[in-house]
């Protein structure tokens, strides 16, 4: 089985959020960048488990980004991916990223393409679905369980009001969410091996420009918390009703 995993680089979960260039760019100064957790913990690890269970196949990662993403890409190789591809383009918008990935994947015959359900910086959850549309493949977002039997995948997905178990014939694209796999910490052997695994850089394809983010802003600072003594706890309900007017 030939699997492609989409890996994105994002600021660490606890990183400070600040902007630069008149609030048009994220300020990455002094920030640690990581593999997007949904891509790493769920999509990549499940891809590796499927390959290991089958005893054959390959797991390739693809990232759209500049040379500064290579340390992050090596982390994916250290966890166990066989090889990695970097499309040499600055990601600006979901469709632009999806078109770059689709341009690479279209004639490679991947059986399964796995993405995280969203990135923790842009939170769009769009790229997996867009890649699926561009390659004319089925896509299941918000997938918390994935099994493959022959050429049929069984997937559990969140739907409004519950969970559905669905069957889909491969090839397909999956948006991986919590539950699909457990995080793997790379060991020393993996980290050493990652240094010599292939990381291919390919030039960007010409893609459509559909716009993007023009300005960021931080939410206004929160007002002081109003404390209520525990013995008068019932007053909270009163205040939520009469003062905050939310119940």
């Amino acid at each position: 089985m030939k699997i492609l995993v989409l890996l994105s680089q994002v600021p660490d979960t606890t990183a400070r959020i600040a902007f630069t260039n008149e609030n048009t760019q994220y300020d990455g100064n002094g920030v640690t960048f990581i593999v997007n957790p949904y891509d790493e913990w769920y999509a990549l690890v499940r891809a590796l488990e499927l390959k290991e269970a089958k005893g054959s196949g390959s797991v390739t990662t693809i990232t759209v980004g500049g040379a500064d993403t290579e340390a992050t890409i090596r982390k994916g190789l250290a966890i166990g991916a066989d090889d990695a591809v970097r499309v040499d383009a600055q990601p600006t918008e979901a469709l632009q990223v999806a078109e770059q990935i689709a341009a690479f994947a279209k004639d490679k015959g991947f059986d399964l393409i796995l993405a995280g359900k969203e990135t923790i910086d842009h939170n769009g959850g769009q790229v997996g679905a867009m890649v699926a549309e561009l390659l004319d493949l089925p896509y299941v977002p918000l997938a918390s369980k994935l099994d493959v039997n022959g050429t049929v995948a069984t997937v559990e997905r969140d739907v409004p009001g519950g969970v559905e178990v669905v069957e889909v014939s491969l090839p397909m694209v999956i948006g991986a969410a919590k539950g699909m796999a457990e995080q793997r910490i790379p060991n020393m052997r993996g980290i050493m091996a990652a240094r010599t695994k292939p990381l291919t850089v390919i030039p960007a394809a010409a893609v459509d420009d559909t716009g993007g983010t023009v300005k960021f802003e931080l939410p206004p600072p929160k007002g002081a918390v109003k404390m209520i003594p525990a013995e008068e706890a019932g007053k909270l309900i009163e205040l939520l009703h009469t003062e905050a007017k939310v119940i």
């Binding site: 959850g125 089925p138 918000l142 739907v159 409004p160 019932g234 909270l236 309900i237 939520l240």
Partner: protein, 312 residues
């Protein structure tokens, strides 16, 4: 600007998120719009109240197959000459809206928080820790509206309902089993959420949490450790890796407020925190706080809620 709106109306009543999306589409268009949907709903005429003049329904599609639904919306968009397609930023919308955008080479705003200002749409980024203004420059735009972002219009119109006729191809996704998440209010739609964490000490202690939620007409939720320990079902988990919600009122009991939890709830209009640890980080994000033991505070809240309900 010609606007159509794609909604999921399966089930016994028209979901709140669908009513919000039709309201929003009609506000964007400055007049009545065409809605597109699927499945067996019988109440589609009522969407006239939110500003739909016509509802086109593909009765033969019962499940979310992104490819079939993208063909459906693409076909209706072409026939209506739509330049803006409104969707909902929920599980159904996430399977369909980005596909429509890719098919039509349209810019896609995933999770718009309201109407555009100077042509720019605001959305959450960095898990709610910041917002971004997005400008779409393509001829066609796809706008996915975040649930609970706008009030629903209550007009007196009635929509005409039209059956979709056309070839959507065969479904490539087959549903084998459906597990309902209970009969209460779906968490992403709830305006009041009562949430509890490890401070409850065990699943057997959840009755007062449920009672308070019920008295307030809200839904129950929980923190990640509680879902991981199977004290509560997975779909109740709010936070970075669970569901992100934005109710009017979020009451958190026995939850410390780790950054990953805040990422899922920081868009709530009002946050009340009950924790016995005065240093709990959640108090910094709260509007109201009580330092106290959950098992002493909850009965007082329930008593006050009963009193309030008796008065109104």
């Amino acid at each position: 600007m010609s606007v159509i709106v794609f909604i999921d109306t399966r089930g016994d009543k028209i979901p709140k998120a669908a009513q919000e999306a039709v309201t929003y589409a009609s506000q964007l268009a400055g007049g009545p719009v065409t809605a597109v949907t699927f499945g067996g709903s019988k109440l589609l005429e009522s969407l006239g109240a939110q500003g739909a003049k016509k509802v086109i329904v593909a009765r033969g599609v019962a499940t979310v197959d992104g490819q079939q639904l993208t063909r459906l919306v693409g076909d209706v968009a072409a026939k209506e000459g739509a330049t803006t397609i409104v969707c909902v930023h929920d599980a159904t919308g996430k399977a369909v809206a980005p596909r429509i955008a890719a098919k039509l080479k349209a810019g896609h705003v995933a999770g718009a928080l309201g109407l555009p200002v100077d042509g720019k749409f605001k959305r959450n980024v960095f898990s709610g820790k910041a917002q971004a203004w997005m400008q779409v420059t393509s001829a066609v735009k796809v706008i996915s509206l975040m649930p609970n972002s706008i009030p629903i219009a209550k007009g007196d119109g009635t929509a005409t309902v039209e059956e979709y006729i056309g070839d959507l191809g065969t479904a490539r996704i087959t549903v084998k089993e459906v597990r309902k998440a209970g009969t209460g209010i779906p968490l992403p739609e709830a305006e009041i959420v009562v949430s509890a964490g490890r401070g409850m000490k065990g699943p057997e202690n959840w009755a007062p949490v449920e009672e308070l939620a019920q008295l307030l007409g809200g839904a129950t939720a929980c923190s990640r450790p509680v879902a991981d320990m199977h004290w509560r079902p997975h779909h109740e988990h709010v936070g970075q890796t669970g569901v992100a919600i934005r109710p009017n009122c979020y009451i958190a009991i026995g939850i410390s407020g780790a950054i990953q939890h805040l990422a899922g709830v920081n868009q709530s209009k009002v946050i009340a925190v009950i924790n016995k640890d005065p240093e709990a980080p959640f108090f910094k994000a709260a509007d109201y706080g009580i330092v106290g033991d959950a098992f002493e505070v909850l009965p007082k809240l329930i008593e006050a809620a009963k009193k309030l309900n008796a008065e109104r």
